[in-house]
Symmetry: C2
Subunit: 448 residues, 2 copies
């Protein structure tokens, strides 16, 4: 096969060691924070019955899903997101799972989407969800653990924008818009940052909101709050205002002050029913929201109760308003970190640390010294130092080039001269500085 | 959708939190050992061009591969193993990779195989390979790092069986067997443990090895060695004997004594060209070999040079014997850990530790105490303790049941009485023992 034919499919990527290592490290950090918050991992198959995976999306998802008929004549599809498999697991193992079910899943999904603009057909999602609790504490916990995960990666400036879908809903209803246009109006408000307030007002006018209605709406939406207590004052008797205040109070209780209440935050997805949030990094604004999520009490029940998302009301464009208490069994709140954007932002912020890779290369200058090389390699590895050994004697230059390609920090060089004195030359490959060290002290020396 | 229709495809599995956590922990341990040996991760796509993935396997693989035509009319297939993607990466990024290329990949593969006997259609492979070095040290390093990975998981008794394919090859050629029957003979010898020596002798006779030839063959094969130096004496001038001795000497240099030289070890796969090894756990013998591998200098070059595996000689059943030096660029040695068997063995050996899961549940007895609960939860999490908080006030019994389901070790209980004294009751859920502790001292108390 000629080399030019060797390629991955469009929208699919290889991650060579340096990148793959970054990813592993980032996932590990995120996992350890999620676990500290009592979340446990879940793994589901890449392939599932198509009928199950296509439950949620309707026509659009159907089109983007990788699907085929397997040799057993089953219609199968590749995982399209991590939420539908979660819904299946909750329905299928109801009696086995500890409820509320707190799980995270960091795994690839596949969409045969347009590949322009950094969109990939194979990409990772990183989801953390609580299923089966209508407690507002769960909402706060999702936000808190994603916030901490991002901070644990070294990001200093993390901003959490918070709102509650019910508030926007109520405000729009009060604005005099026809009920079946509310979702459209939300999508318009969602574009606020992108197209600006005048344009949004214009589009809302076209939807049928009168001048006075628009006036009142934006007066309320543009409010800012110093203290969560002001929320209930400003939004007296507006559904969702109490929930929003409660989430913020819990965050404050946990010492989390890097939030902004933003009543214009709408989040594109239709299925949110309460708290919504997104996280932006002011130091890397070009990546937009790095994470986001909210409460979605209607979705997880899709396999256990009639699917309200596919109901007649839904078809008419009305926003579902279930009682949270009534749906406690499948009440759910969750968040998702955009892994590709996060990794790009971490690189931009120079938070990817190349001390991730091997620490030391033990060079190989002479066959008759192999015994020493093996002993030194063992000494370093036994003390936990990531150590690479150059297998065959070769020019030192070539070996240092290898070290450079692998981002190795130190070279341990033992030639006949060093060997006579039981020493080694340790070369710092970033500064070029070198020092003689007794062979027996190498691991002690390199550990500092 | 009725609950009975909610299921995974045959041969596909969900891993609920407890199992998923075991797996994560095991993978993490393995990864950290591989990294200590200077191996770095590689990630390749799940879907690739079918033409690339089917390069190696011929008819059999073709049949078992999940393949379909995507919407762009490309013939695509799901990853069948981790070796062919490695070969593609080595060919495609030749100039970018540090050579020798030392990589590991722990990832799922898919085969539409018969699902009986614990075989799955979606399962993980855990591969570690060195590409581009013909040094025998690389062979030893692969064995050493897999050995250490298994020991790091807590397995005390690990036995490495080692041989060299060239020895078996030479011995069979000397036994007077027709050249085109050598691979068949190896497959028969591979069954030695399963069917016993008399039966193997019988089958070899049918292949055309005469009585004297069989006699000599088994006399040599059944030799045991106290010291690697005896190998070259016993197998004077037999190709591969020097390599075998050299591998063992390096292992000894590294303090690895848990090996057995076994000249009857054949390893089923056709593509090995030198060192072969497998690892068994005497305390869990029913799982057979937990890991294995060897040198395969002919395979990685499949995309850069004419594929010797598909050559005419190969078709005639002759074993390829390339010069190791000549193929240094694509010389390769690697090993693979059987993840499913390993996890089953770890469970059998009671090496799966349930202190993996959350440490503490902060119980919730009264809404008016929520502030205290949140503060205690934060205190514990800040000190790194995995802490779950029960979101809504409920009967203590129900909360302890939740803790039990999640394998949580301690419950922190604060009722009105405890609150008055700024105390908490800490209940050890495995012993039932409980103690009063000052709230401010909780993390200190629980850390020990």
């Amino acid at each position: 096969m000629p080399k030019k034919d060797l390629q991955t499919l469009k929208g699919f990527r290889d991650f060579l060691p340096e990148k793959a290592l970054e990813r592993e490290k980032v996932f590990e950090t995120i996992r350890s924070v999620f676990q500290k918050y009592g979340f446990l991992p879940l793994e589901t198959p890449v392939l599932e019955y198509k009928e199950i995976l296509s439950g949620k999306y309707g026509g659009e998802g159907e089109k983007l899903m990788y699907q085929f008929r397997d040799r057993g004549q089953r219609d199968v599809a590749m995982r399209y997101d991590l939420t539908v498999p979660l819904a299946r697991v909750v329905a299928q193992y109801q009696s086995e799972l500890a409820m509320p079910f707190k799980r995270y899943q960091i795994a690839p999904v596949w969409r045969a989407d347009n590949t322009q603009k950094g969109r990939y057909r194979e990409f990772y999602q990183c989801d953390v969800d609580v299923v089966g609790s209508d407690s507002i504490t769960a909402d706060a916990e999702i936000i808190a653990c994603i916030n901490e995960a991002l901070q644990s990666l070294g990001i200093k400036d993390v901003v959490i924008r918070i709102n509650n879908r019910k508030i926007l809903d109520a405000l729009l209803q009060n604005s005099g818009i026809p009920k079946n246009k509310i979702l459209d109006a939300m999508r318009i408000i969602d574009k606020l940052e992108k197209i600006g307030e005048p344009k949004v007002r214009e589009e809302l006018a076209l939807l049928g909101i009168k001048t006075k209605g628009r006036q009142d709406l934006f007066e309320t939406l543009n409010a800012t709050f110093e203290d969560p207590k002001e929320i209930s004052v400003h939004l007296e008797a507006v559904p969702g205002a109490g929930e929003l205040a409660a989430v913020v109070e819990i965050l404050l209780e946990w010492g989390i002050k890097n939030y902004q209440i933003d009543l214009t935050l709408a989040r594109g997805l239709d299925y949110y029913t309460g708290t919504i949030f997104e996280i932006i990094l002011p130091d890397a604004p070009q990546y937009g929201s790095i994470a986001g999520g909210g409460r979605y009490d209607n979705l997880i029940g899709m396999f256990t109760s009639p699917n309200p998302l596919l109901s007649k009301e839904r078809a008419k464009g009305e926003v579902p308003q279930p009682s949270r208490k009534a749906m406690a069994g499948t009440a759910a709140v969750g968040g998702s970190i955009g892994v590709d954007r996060l990794l790009a932002a971490l690189e931009e912020l120079e938070l990817i640390k190349y001390d991730l890779v091997s620490d030391v290369l033990v060079c190989n200058l002479a066959e008759e010294l192999e015994e020493q090389y093996l002993a030194v390699t063992k000494q370093l590895r036994d003390s936990g130092i990531k150590t690479d050994f150059y297998y065959s004697p070769d020019k030192l230059d070539k070996q240092l080039k290898y070290a450079d390609k692998k981002n190795i920090n130190f070279a341990v060089i033992i030639g006949q001269d060093e060997q006579k004195k039981s020493e080694a030359t340790v070369k710092n490959l970033s500064t070029g500085k070198q020092e003689k060290v007794k062979q027996k002290d190498l691991s002690k020396f390199l550990k500092k």
